[in-house]
């Protein structure tokens, strides 16, 4: 047993963090929200050069075939920096789905699928997916080069309807219409793709929670009232402590879910759902507390805090509600796992 990140994984997280910090993601996200996606797409491409887009793509399609824990690291860092775009979809769910559909036969059953996998790994393609009723909308379908819809056991190419505005500025949600059938009898592949999407979303939320705590602690030290930094007041301290506790005990669940997916994707439901529940709750607590600590300034669209507050509200309910995931944990426990 070794339940700890390796040194290379910590280095990967740090390198990604440095890259995102240098890219000034909040500014990129604001331009993205205003409809100018040039810098965002360039950043997406440079993240792909760092390997982020290739993690869930098998090596035979020019990907990295990485451990799911590496995907957790990447998505957590992307959430930490409020990176816009269909992250759980394009980096986790769709490559996982396509990789299973492409199979291990030589040549690939469908050359198009192999091509998409290569493009995804290179950052040349952004993809999104809907799986009604659990995932009713395809996120950011307007900018995706590949839009899919899945049913109980089939996958189709899809045409997105008009993009509905999300609480997160710049993110859109589309009802999609299935067109050409891509695969049938694909229930296991779809299930696996879903688990990876949930995992990525949970990681993004944990990262966003960390950022919110970072911002709140920085503000609490800087902001002075009644002649003292507000961080010296117990009412503030204790709320921040509760956030740290929630985040600290969320991460092991996330890593355990990654381990479960690496070992046995079909048996990972309990651990994936547990991680999603804990990370969503932790991120929501972080959001509430960060806003409260900032006061009115945090309530403005102008302050960068709003990027994370709305990210948490956007990604939280995607990929299954809290109640749905809690019920799935109980069902898995009742099944004896």
């Amino acid at each position: 047993m070794s339940f700890v990140l390796a040194a290379e994984q910590l280095q990967f997280a740090e390198a990604l963090h440095d890259q995102l910090a240098a890219a000034d993601v909040p500014a990129v996200a604001r331009q993205w929200a205003a409809g100018d996606r040039k810098r965002g797409q360039a950043l997406w491409y440079s993240l792909a050069e760092a390997g982020v887009a290739a993690l869930a793509v098998p090596q035979r399609w020019d990907g990295l075939g990485a451990h799911p824990a590496d995907l957790v690291i990447a998505c957590e860092e992307l959430g930490h920096h409020a990176m816009p775009g269909p992250i759980a979809e394009s980096l986790a769910a769709v490559p996982t789905l396509l990789a299973v559909l492409a199979g291990t036969d030589e040549p690939a059953a469908d050359e198009r699928i192999a091509g998409w996998l290569r493009q995804l790994a290179a950052g040349d393609l952004i993809a999104t997916i809907a799986w009604p009723p659990l995932l009713p909308y395809a996120a950011d379908a307007q900018l995706a080069g590949l839009v899919l819809v899945a049913g109980p056991d089939w996958v189709k190419l899809a045409e997105p309807g008009p993009g509905l505005r999300s609480v997160q500025a710049g993110r859109s949600l589309s009802i999609v219409t299935g067109k050409e059938l891509l695969a049938h009898g694909a229930a296991a592949a779809i299930q696996q793709a879903f688990e990876f999407g949930v995992l990525a979303g949970a990681a993004q939320l944990l990262g966003a929670g960390r950022a919110l705590l970072d911002c709140a602690t920085a503000h609490a030290v800087q902001r002075t009232q009644f002649g003292s930094p507000i961080g010296s007041f117990q009412a503030v301290k204790h709320q921040l402590a509760n956030v740290l506790i929630a985040l600290e005990f969320g991460r092991p669940l996330l890593l355990a879910a990654a381990v479960a997916l690496a070992d046995d994707p079909a048996g990972a439901a309990r651990d994936v759902s547990a991680a999603k529940v804990a990370c969503t709750d932790a991120a929501r607590l972080a959001a509430r507390v960060a806003l409260q600590v900032h006061g009115a300034i945090g309530y403005t669209a102008e302050h960068d805090l709003s990027l994370w507050l709305t990210l948490v509200r956007a990604v939280g309910p995607a990929w299954g509600s809290q109640r749905w995931h809690r019920a799935r944990v109980l069902a898995a426990l009742a099944g004896g796992s």
Binding site: M1, S2, F3, V4, L5, L10, A13, E14, A21, P26, H67, A69, H80, R210, A211, L213, D214, C215, T217, A218, H219, A220, V221, Q222, S228, P229, G231, S232, Q234, V236, K237, H238, L240, A241, N242, L244, I245, L247, E248, F249, G250, R251, P252, L253, L255, A256, V259, A262, D263, A274, V277, A278, D304, L305, R323, R326, A327, V329, L330, A334
Partner: protein, 423 residues
């Protein structure tokens, strides 16, 4: 990265499971807080010790097996799953022993630890005083110099197990100085010495689980001073993490309770009551998180023999969050720029890290038992019968956020030492 148990650990787990299946009492022993129950629990400790299972993490010379932190976690899982009796010696085993490993002399260790391991000597803690709770440095009980030792005087309270225990440990003031943290000394003393009076205090459940200790010029030889005179505060705080962290309340305890809660839900839960189902799921998730975080700690390099070789450093993954926040003293944006730098463990981190765990397990314990009582409906009131263990467990859990440093104290510690908030 994996969570698979290797052959050695699996074999140890099997040994513990088999032994407990053959030896653990089939029905619960009488309460440890009664004269009869205390004696039976003490006898159980001797039985455990004969199988070298009472202190598996200690070095062999003191009755242990030199087990790793991981092995100890496995032992605890099996122990609680088998509903093993309350450890009557827990204050000694989980609080004093780690302090002795860190600060005791070889003579003290070999004199004290073997008897602790068998239950021959049961220890009680003596921290609080009538006027001193959270503000521990305000201790008034004092020790005066005497020929070959010290004379202890004063009053201690909320001393768990003191009614039937043999010996006590705690801080006494030996000097007054400018700084009140100076001049405190860590003493080990007999509860049977002349000048000691122990008065039982009935707890919420009606039993004498704790007591007041009155000391009137109680002689303690120099050999029973732990560490240097005047250094007691540092010594007590350096191992305070043990009192509130993993060693006091192991994950096994909550994993076992969570498994029983899920069984209770399946037996007695209304499937349409999704609000209660949510609480059951959350309680299980919490217990799993506590277990996983311990496994993370056990995976750290240096987590091998954790007693006698110090406390393992917290996982880098967890230090990161705290460092990230502590580094964030600039503007909101720049705090992120420095987010993951400086992962090295800072001074005082293990103790402060255990504060995270203390708040978490004590709230989790309450949530587990409160949810079970909700599931039991009207039967939750019954103090006897097949499900009364949940009520007893709930009453026990109510004390969790109070003892070993209140959760308010812990949150302040977390905010100041891990998040860098000003005092």
């Amino acid at each position: 990265m994996d969570l698979a148990e290797d052959d050695q650990v699996a074999a140890f787990r099997a040994e513990v499971r088999q032994w407990l299946a053959a030896h653990a009492p089939a029905t619960p022993l009488p309460s440890v807080d009664t004269a009869e129950g205390f004696g039976l629990h003490r006898a159980w400790e001797a039985e455990l010790a004969a199988a070298r299972l009472s202190v598996v993490s200690w070095p062999e010379q003191y009755g242990g097996r030199g087990a790793s932190l991981l092995d100890w976690l496995v032992f605890e899982e099996e122990y609680h799953a088998a509903r093993g009796p309350v450890r009557v010696g827990q204050n000694g085993l989980f609080v004093l022993a780690p302090t002795l490993f860190a600060h005791g002399t070889p003579e003290q260790r070999s004199r004290i630890l073997p008897k602790m391991a068998t239950g021959e000597e049961v220890w009680a803690q003596a921290w609080s005083e009538p006027e001193v709770g959270s503000d521990l440095a305000a201790i008034r009980s004092r020790a005066a110099r005497a020929d070959g030792g010290w004379l202890l005087s004063g009053q201690k309270t909320w001393s768990s197990r003191a009614v039937w225990a043999d010996r006590g440990f705690g801080l006494f003031r030996t000097a007054t100085g400018d700084r009140r943290h100076d001049g405190l000394t860590y003493f080990l003393f007999s509860l049977r010495s002349p000048g000691v009076t122990v008065r039982p205090i009935a707890q919420l459940d009606g039993e004498a689980g704790f007591a007041e200790i009155f000391l009137d010029e109680v002689f303690v030889p120099d050999a029973d001073v732990l560490g240097a005179p005047g250094d007691g505060w540092r010594i007590a705080m350096s191992s305070a993490g043990h009192e509130r962290g993993l060693t006091l309340r192991s994950p096994g305890r909550f994993s076992a309770a969570a498994a029983r809660l899920v069984e209770l839900w399946q037996r007695a839960g209304d499937p349409a009551d999704s609000a209660l189902a949510d609480r059951v799921a959350d309680a299980w998730i919490g217990a799993r998180a506590y277990q996983l975080r311990a496994l993370e700690t056990a995976s750290q390099p240096g987590a091998g023999g954790f007693h006698g070789t110090g406390t393992p450093a917290p996982a880098p993954g967890r230090a990161r969050l705290a460092d990230s926040a502590a580094a964030g003293s600039g503007s909101g944006r720049t705090s992120l720029d420095r987010g993951v730098v400086g992962r090295g463990a800072a001074g005082g981190r293990p103790a402060a890290d255990s504060s995270l765990g203390k708040v978490f397990w004590s709230e989790l314990d309450l949530a587990l038992h409160d949810t079970a009582l909700e599931l039991l409906g009207a039967d939750a009131e019954l103090a006897e019968g097949p499900d009364a263990g949940w009520l007893a467990g709930y009453l026990f859990a109510l004390a969790g956020p109070i003892y070993a440093g209140t959760n308010e104290i812990q949150r302040t510690v977390i905010a100041e030492r891990l998040l860098g908030m000003p005092r």
